[in-house]
Symmetry: C2
Subunit: 421 residues, 2 copies
C-alpha cells in the first residue's frame, strides 16, 4: 500500500471548501484556496466522505453485472391498449439507450416465443415462397447500424389541449429510444426468394395477440429495412420483438412490426385496421393522410427540464436529442428567450443517419426567468415547426407525428415547467 | 382479427421443406417448391411451430425490461488477483457491448461507493487544488464517444506455450468490450484547476482496496482522456468504476483507473508498483519497456470459431472485431488457407477511432479443412503481426499487449479449434 493512499478521510466539515468550489465551477474563476492547502490535507479531501472503500476487500466479478443500488432508472408505464413504457430520457447520457430501458408500445402485450419454434414466411409475389428459421436468418450476411425508433404518437400531449407544466421529457416524449440494431437486410431476403418485379408493397404481420399488420412500400426493403435479431450487441429483448422484428429506419415505430412472422409481397397495400382505423392522420376539411411513415425532424431538450431545478446561476449546459427520419440532422438551434433569438448548438460527432444526435449548448443563467426551446433542421432543409405551425398544416385533430418545438420555462427560483412552443 | 391471421399452425412435419430451404440458403439457388404451395399452406408454414402466441394475451410492459429466458449470455469468471470476467464475444452482434456483459479485471475487487460521498481531488502542480463532487463533475460540458476498452494482458494464452484448441474468442480475448462513454473531458478539468505549464505527468489513484495507481503523461489529458460517469446511456456500473473512472481511449485498460478519487499533477512519473512490478513488459536481453500504453492494431474472428461447428458446406460469413489504439482501422484481411492468400473484408460503417470495427467476409466453404486468420491494418500503416513476428520483437517473456494474428482450424467434419498464427 502506498504511503499516500493510507490517509484517513477527513471528518472535518468541508462546507467552506465546497462553497468555494461550487462558486468557481459556476463562474469558472480562480479561488484563493490553492496555496493554503497542504499536500496531506488536499489528499484527505480527495478521499470520499463516509466509509473508506479502500479499507475493505471489494466484491468479486459476476457472470452478469448489476447496476449500483443507488441507480434505479425506470420506464414510465401506461396501461392502455396492450400497454406502453417510456424511456427516462432526462436521465440518459450520449445516444445509446440501454436495452432494458427501451420504450415499449404494444397492441396486445408481449408474446412469449421459443426461438426454436420461430418461423418467418415470405410469400405472395415471389418466385420461391420460403420459410426461414431463426438460424437460417442468421446465416445470411449481417448488417448492424445505430437507429432511433420512435412511436408515431410520441409527444401528443404537447399538441393537444393545454399540457401540464409538471411533465418530463420522459412523460412527454419517452416513446423514443436508440439502439445498435443487427440483422439481415430485407433486400438480401427479397433477392433470395425472387421478389417479382411488379410487386410494389409487402405485408408485415406480427405474431402477437393483436397480429399487428402493416403494409410497407417495397422501396423501403431495397433502401434499408431489415429483419433485426440483435439489439445493442445481444439478442433483441422480448419487449422489442424477440426473436426477430422488422425494422424500418426513420419510420414510425408501429411500421417496424415486432415478432414478425410473415411477409407477403403484393402489388397494392393491404388496408389493415392498423393503417385505417389507426395510424391514419385526420387533416383539416375532412381529409386524412395515410401511410405517412417518415418521421420529420424533431428535437427535445432533456436538461434542464422538469423535474430538475437549477440550484445556482452561472454555467448550465443545455442538452438534448435531435433526430430525423430523412437522414442526417444538419443543425440544432437553441433559444433561451422563447424563440426571440437562436444560437447554434454543438452536435456530438459522429452525426449518424436516422439516429438520435446529441446537441449541447453552453449557457450562462443570470437568475431571471427564461424560456428554453430547441429547433432541429435536417439535411433536406426541413425546419422543426412551432406547435402553431404544425396545427395550421395538420389541424387540431391530427393524431400522429407530433414533432413541434417543445419549450421549458425556468422560473426565477430555478423550478422548470413544460410548455408547448 | 384478420382472416388470414387465424390459421392454425401446421402440425405436419416440415422436414422436406426445411431441407429444401436449407439447401437453397447455402447455395443461393432456386427451389421447385414455389408453385406447388397454396396460399393457405404457405401462411400456415409461416406460423411458428409449437403453441400459437397469437391466441393468448401478451405480457404487460415492465419498468425495466428483461432478457428472454432463452437467452442467457454470461461472462467467464477467473478468480486470480481480484478477479476477472470475460465478455462472450462470439455471441455478440455489431460493436456495442451490453453494460452487464462488459469485461472486468480488478486488483482487489469492486468497491461499494455511495455517490453522495464521492469526491475527486485534483492537486499537485495546479493553481487551484480542487475537490469535485459527482454533481459538480456533471455540471461541466459533457462529451460522449464510443470507445473500446481492452485489458493489456488480453490474449496472453495465444502467445504463451501451446494453447489448447478448445478455446473460444471469449476465453482467449474476452477482456475486450465497447461502450459509449460519457463524462467530462480531462482537458476541461485541468483548465479549471489551472495546471502548471511545466507539469508533464499526473497520477490517477483509484478508491478500490488495491488503491490502483498509474502515472499518465499529461498529453493524454489534452488529447482525449475523460472522467467518465456514463456508459451506454446510463450510469457506469459498479464493476466499471461507479460512480466515475478515468478513461484513456485506445490505451491499455489498466491505465483507465476505475473509481478514480485523486489526480496529482507532477513533472515526473510516480513509479508505483502497478507500473514497475506490473505493466512493464520484459524484452529480450534483460531489457524492458515501461509506460507502453497504446494498444497496437489487433483483430479476432468471432465466427466461425470454437465452440461453433459448421453444419453445412456453402455460404459462411466470417465475422469479427478489429481495433487499434492509434485511431482508425484502415483494412482487415481474412485468410482461409492459413495466410497463403488474403482477402479484404468489408468494414461496418461508420469506422470510429479507438473503437471496435466489425469486419465481415463472405466465404464458400467446400467441406475441406480450412485455416482462418484475420489481419488488421490501421491508419498509421501498422500491420497486425504473426505470433512469430511478435515473439521476435518482444521475446518469449513479454507479459502484455498480445495482438498477434489468431487462427482457427476447421476440420472436414466442421469442428473448429483455436490455433496461434
Amino acid at each position: 500500500m502506498e504511503e499516500n493512499s493510507t490517509d484517513q478521510p477527513s471528518e472535518q466539515p468541508e462546507s467552506e471548501q465546497r462553497t468555494v468550489t461550487r462558486r468557481r465551477l459556476l463562474a469558472g474563476a480562480a479561488v484563493a484556496a490553492g496555496g493554503a492547502i497542504g499536500a496531506r490535507a488536499t489528499r484527505a479531501l480527495g478521499a470520499q466522505s463516509g466509509p473508506d472503500p479502500t479499507k475493505v476487500p471489494g466484491a468479486r466479478p459476476a457472470t452478469v453485472g448489476s447496476r449500483s443500488p443507488h441507480e434505479t432508472p425506470e420506464k414510465l408505464l401506461s396501461g392502455s391498449a396492450g400497454g406502453s413504457s417510456r424511456t427516462p430520457l432526462q436521465e440518459l447520457h450520449g445516444i445509446v439507450t440501454p436495452a432494458d430501458l427501451h420504450f415499449e408500445r404494444h397492441h396486445h402485450g408481449i408474446p412469449e416465443i421459443d426461438p426454436a419454434n420461430y418461423r418467418l414466411l415470405i410469400h405472395g409475389m415471389v418466385d420461391r415462397p420460403t420459410v426461414f428459421t431463426l438460424d437460417e436468418l442468421k446465416r445470411f450476411p449481417e448488417v448492424s447500424q445505430l437507429f432511433f425508433v420512435e412511436c408515431s404518437g410520441n409527444g401528443g400531449g404537447a399538441f393537444r389541449g393545454d399540457p401540464r407544466p409538471d411533465q418530463s421529457p420522459q412523460s412527454m416524449d419517452g416513446l423514443l429510444s436508440t439502439s445498435e440494431w443487427s440483422g439481415v437486410s430485407l433486400a438480401t431476403l427479397f433477392e433470395e426468394v425472387g421478389v417479382h418485379s411488379d410487386a410494389t408493397w409487402f405485408l408485415a404481420e406480427g405474431s402477437d395477440a393483436a397480429v399487428m399488420s402493416r403494409s410497407i412500400p417495397i422501396e423501403k426493403a431495397w433502401e434499408d429495412a431489415m429483419i433485426a435479431y440483435g439489439q445493442n450487441g445481444e439478442a433483441i429483448r422480448p419487449s422489442q420483438g424477440y426473436p426477430a422484428r422488422l425494422l424500418n429506419p426513420g419510420w414510425e415505430g408501429n411500421s417496424s412490426v415486432k415478432w414478425v412472422r410473415r411477409l407477403e409481397l403484393s402489388d397494392r397495400p393491404f388496408m389493415f385496421r392498423d393503417e385505417t382505423s389507426r395510424y391514419t392522420d385526420p387533416l383539416p376539411e375532412g381529409k386524412a393522410r395515410i401511410f405517412s411513415f417518415v418521421l420529420d425532424a424533431k428535437s427535445i431538450i432533456t436538461y434542464p427540464t422538469y423535474p430538475a431545478r437549477l440550484e445556482n446561476t452561472g454555467f448550465v449546459e443545455i442538452a438534448g436529442y435531435a433526430w430525423t427520419g430523412r437522414g442526417l440532422v444538419d443543425r440544432v438551434d437553441v433559444s433561451t428567450d422563447g424563440g426571440a433569438t437562436w444560437h447554434e448548438a454543438e452536435l456530438q460527432q459522429p452525426v449518424l443517419p436516422k439516429c438520435t444526435t446529441r446537441f449541447r449548448y453552453g449557457w450562462e443563467w443570470d437568475g431571471e426567468p427564461a424560456h428554453l426551446m430547441s429547433r432541429a433542421v435536417d439535411e433536406t432543409g426541413y425546419v422543426q415547426p412551432t406547435t402553431a405551425e404544425l396545427r395550421d398544416v395538420r389541424g387540431p385533430g391530427t393524431r400522429y407525428h407530433y414533432n413541434s418545438i417543445r419549450g421549458w420555462r425556468i422560473a426565477a427560483d430555478g423550478t422548470i415547467g413544460f410548455t408547448p412552443s
